[in-house]
């Protein structure tokens, strides 16, 4: 299109399909690739293919894995009475980094959004229900809904709590408020006011 090489144009085109990558960034990335040594490019291309070939979703929690089940589901160090429900696999990475949570996960792979044509059947809700019903011998005591505090996240939380109300499981949601480590005086007015709304008894 813009350059004098069809191959380069194709590469730019492919880069610009990636999330958050605009035309300009795609051009910069493509030009960077042209300057790399051949073996570096082969490593990069190989990693793309290998990821696609090996990655699949855990049969139990739908987290990313290379096997039938993921490392977290297989571990005997985890508390099998608690499940934390998240939107995407990257939320599992984030929570694991804290080293605080010892329970299991369930990845929904999306969130209910009628506007985008995503209903309960389009994400892994059915699988969550099945899991709670059979629960592999262990009894699930608590379900933590760690969804984003957006309109879609909040309504998915409400929907799940309605759907699961007949089960004898404690359902909780993570609090929203001021990020730890940031000073109250730096938090903007809206975040602060919202944190006040979500306050809890101590």
């Amino acid at each position: 299109m813009q350059s004098t090489s069809d191959a380069l144009d194709t590469l730019i085109e492919e880069f610009s399909k990636l999330p958050q990558i605009g035309r300009k960034t795609a051009q910069r990335l493509a030009m960077y690739i042209t300057r790399l040594p051949k073996e570096e490019v082969e490593k990069f291309a190989g990693a793309l293919i290998e990821t696609k070939d090996k990655i699949r979703f855990c049969r139990i929690c739908f987290n990313i894995t290379e096997d039938d089940t993921c490392r977290i589901c297989r571990s005997d160090k985890r508390n099998r009475n608690v499940i934390c429900v998240v939107e995407e696999p990257q939320d599992v990475f984030a929570l694991e980094k804290t080293n605080e949570y010892k329970g299991l996960y369930h990845v929904l792979h999306g969130i209910i959004s009628p506007l985008d044509g995503i209903g309960p059947d389009d994400i892994r809700i059915k699988e969550l229900i099945e899991r709670l019903n059979e629960n592999e011998g262990a009894h699930i005591e608590e379900l933590i809904l760690a969804l984003n505090p957006t309109v879609e996240g909040e309504t998915t939380i409400l929907y799940l709590s309605k759907l699961l109300r007949h089960l004898d499981i404690k359902i909780t949601r993570i609090a929203r408020g001021i990020p730890i480590g940031s000073d109250i005086e730096l938090a903007d007015e809206v975040t602060l006011a919202r944190a006040m709304e979500g306050r809890v008894t101590v």
Binding site: P114, E189, A193
Partner: protein, 396 residues
Amino acid sequence: MRNFRNYGEEEIIFNGKFNFISGNNGQGKTNILEAISFSALGKSFLGASETDCVKFGKEEFLIESVFENDLENMDKITVGYNSIARLKAIYKNKEKVSAFSSEIFGRYPMVILSPKSLDITHGNPSDRRRFFDILISQASRLYLDYLKELVKILKQKNALLKNYTVLKKYAKAEFTDMLNSYNEKLSDISSKIIFKRINFLKEFEKYFEKNFSFLSSEGHKSRITYYSEIFETELNGSEETSIDDIKECMSRVLNEKSEEEISRAVSLAGPQRDDYIFRLKKRDGDYFDIKHFASQGEHKTCIVALKLSEYDYLKHKKSTDPILLLDDVLSELDESRVSSIISHLKDYGQIFLTTTDKGYLENLKVFYGEEEISVFEIENGTLINRHEAHRHKIEN
């Protein structure tokens, strides 16, 4: 400013008190006010798209303005728009900010009176909601956040209803749980919005009643009440209502309307349908609805009282004197009403007035000293005549 509307390149030093901008129709008087509104609000006060504001044959416009407060602190605001990239950028003191950041929005409060303002009492409920929503948002960022959330919830709920009723998606039980989830969110956000609006009226009515009495020569009284389908009666701010009470009413109405909402596939309840009612009381009568029963003159008095109250309210909330834009008001409001506004506000902030009537300048000399008025005459996007009281150099 550069390439804004019919202007090429223009630099104007305004008077801190009064700016008198005259010229024939279509020459570009209002464009100057529009440029000022871009600097203070991040957008056109006429609701025009940025693309429409780019000079014909050009690709981008640029507006640079310097605001100076009582302490002589200066803020330089730059607004640029490129119509090819469709990109708007706003800088405050050379640092990039977003249009709705608290660095801009509500920081330089602005009150605008134009012939269009008459729509507030004459027009649809949406005209009134828009006026009050902008006013409350300038004082409360949280309220603006609530409004944005309401819009998102309604969009999702309407999509849900359409998917179910029109596109025949979802099983019945699944749909009912989803609808109830959205209605729960809707009751929650609606109660917060309505609570804010009623509390706002409680505070605002002090200013409004005082200003209306001041303007009305016949001793009439006026008040504003809040109408929502979810209550049995209109509220005037004197009732004690809690967020929980409102939420309960809202949930009840959503339940009642549910069947109709599903069959018509559209949301039928919520603060997006509410209204503010302007009421007028003549000596010994009852309060009646201005929209249906008032004379032209009474409408105009009401609008002027409303704008003066908007000014007083913002002045109190923001602890700063708002900027007042009077766009072509002499054509709709008579001179005595305009003069009463000016006499009321002359001791406070900066005023900009556009008019085709050069003669009105004489009337202003009662209120202002010679140094306090700057006069600009516009012809075809050019200042053909300027009388700036004093030009001081702006360093930046």
